[in-house]
């Protein structure tokens, strides 16, 4: 009995100390949502810090392709364009609440790249309504860290 408990504790410690790649990717996506969320009380310095933190989630050659209802489709290429767009959004919006729900991670066989599908729930400004958008992320492992290489929106209703 004691041996089984020790083994279970050991396994639990192992999973905490050496999490699986799926868990790391999930954590990354969850943390991305927190970083992309701003509240009204966030000052300029906090917002600027969040922008620079946000850029850290993306690979140098990352691409974001947006094609959502109500806005013209556009693509952001590279960290500079992403930084510019994030800074613009964080400056103009009073609040931005981002949640990634139903996150599904598919690891490649080499465990160096991952595809993530999720539903993004976004509430911007003082709007009572929110937007829901299916999204697809591609991540790759760079020097031990998972970085986003591609983000694209998926149209649910055509």
């Amino acid at each position: 009995m004691l041996l089984a408990a020790a083994a279970a504790l050991g396994f639990w410690c192992w999973t905490i100390l050496f999490p699986s790649p799926e868990k790391l990717v999930l954590k990354k996506i969850s943390s991305l949502a927190s970083t992309a969320t701003i509240v009204a009380s966030d000052g300029n310095i906090t917002r600027a810090t969040k922008v620079s933190n946000l850029i850290g989630y993306f690979a140098v050659d990352a691409e974001i392709h947006f094609d959502v209802t109500g806005y013209p489709a556009h693509t952001l290429s590279g960290r500079d364009e992403i930084r510019e767009a994030a800074a613009g959004a964080f400056t103009s919006l009073t609040t931005l609440n981002v949640q990634f729900l139903d996150v599904t991670v598919r690891l490649a066989a080499d465990k160096l790249t991952a595809d993530v599908s999720c539903a993004a729930k976004v509430n911007a400004g003082d709007s009572k309504d929110f937007g829901v958008q299916e999204m697809h992320f591609q991540l790759k492992k760079v020097e031990g860290d998972w970085l986003i290489t591609k983000v694209e929106t998926v149209k649910t209703l055509s």
């Binding site: 209802t69 729900l101 139903d102 599904t104 539903a119 309504d129 649910t156 209703l157």
Partner: protein, 177 residues
């Protein structure tokens, strides 16, 4: 001679597991299985969030989706359905679904003129649309497996209202109440 008080179960036992524990356990098991089957395969409990179905449904209302509603027949015009964001097999266990009303059936053409919906060129009677609407949109043809879904609240601009053609396999079920 046995004392009557000794054979009577303690009041705490009666309160927690009843006078006949075996029967109580069977009842609990049946209840658990019934709930599991009902909420796993038949009814999907939902909490409504958002303004797109106003005034018919508003944020905070609790309802259920009947997953078996379309076993015997296909979705009908006017049905309020839940539509999954991704194709089946996309997102593992979708916790977020669109809730919309079907106005266009497979093969039909849906258009909006002067805020009114037109199906195959004929105006559609929609008593559930209460807010003023000024939508103008060219005809959209539904494919053989597509339904045109839209919310009842059409007071926002056309482009900001999530709507469009949904494949049959994305329709999870019909709203129960």
């Amino acid at each position: 001679m046995q004392n009557a008080n000794e054979s009577r179960p303690h009041w705490l036992q009666v309160l927690t597991i009843g006078r006949r524990p075996k029967t109580t356990l069977i009842r609990i098991a049946v209840l658990v299985v019934t709930c599991f089957v009902t909420f796993k395969f038949v009814l999907l409990p939902i909490r409504i969030d958002g303004i797109s179905m106003l005034p018919t449904y508003h944020t905070g209302q609790i309802n259920c989706i009947n997953r078996l509603a379309y076993l015997r027949h296909e979705p009908q015009r006017g049905d309020i359905v839940s539509v999954r964001l991704s194709e089946p097999g996309g997102l593992a266990n979708p916790s977020i679904l669109y809730m919309k009303r079907i106005i266009g059936l497979p093969g039909e053409t849906v258009a909006f003129h002067g805020g009114r919906a037109f199906i195959n060129g004929e105006p559609l009677d929609e008593p559930y649309v209460k807010f003023s609407c000024d939508w103008e949109h060219a005809p959209i043809v539904c494919g053989p497996d597509q339904y045109y879904v839209v919310g009842d609240n059409r007071s926002m601009p056309f482009d900001f209202h999530t709507q469009g053609r949904a494949e049959r396999n994305r329709i999870v079920g019909k709203l129960l109440l």
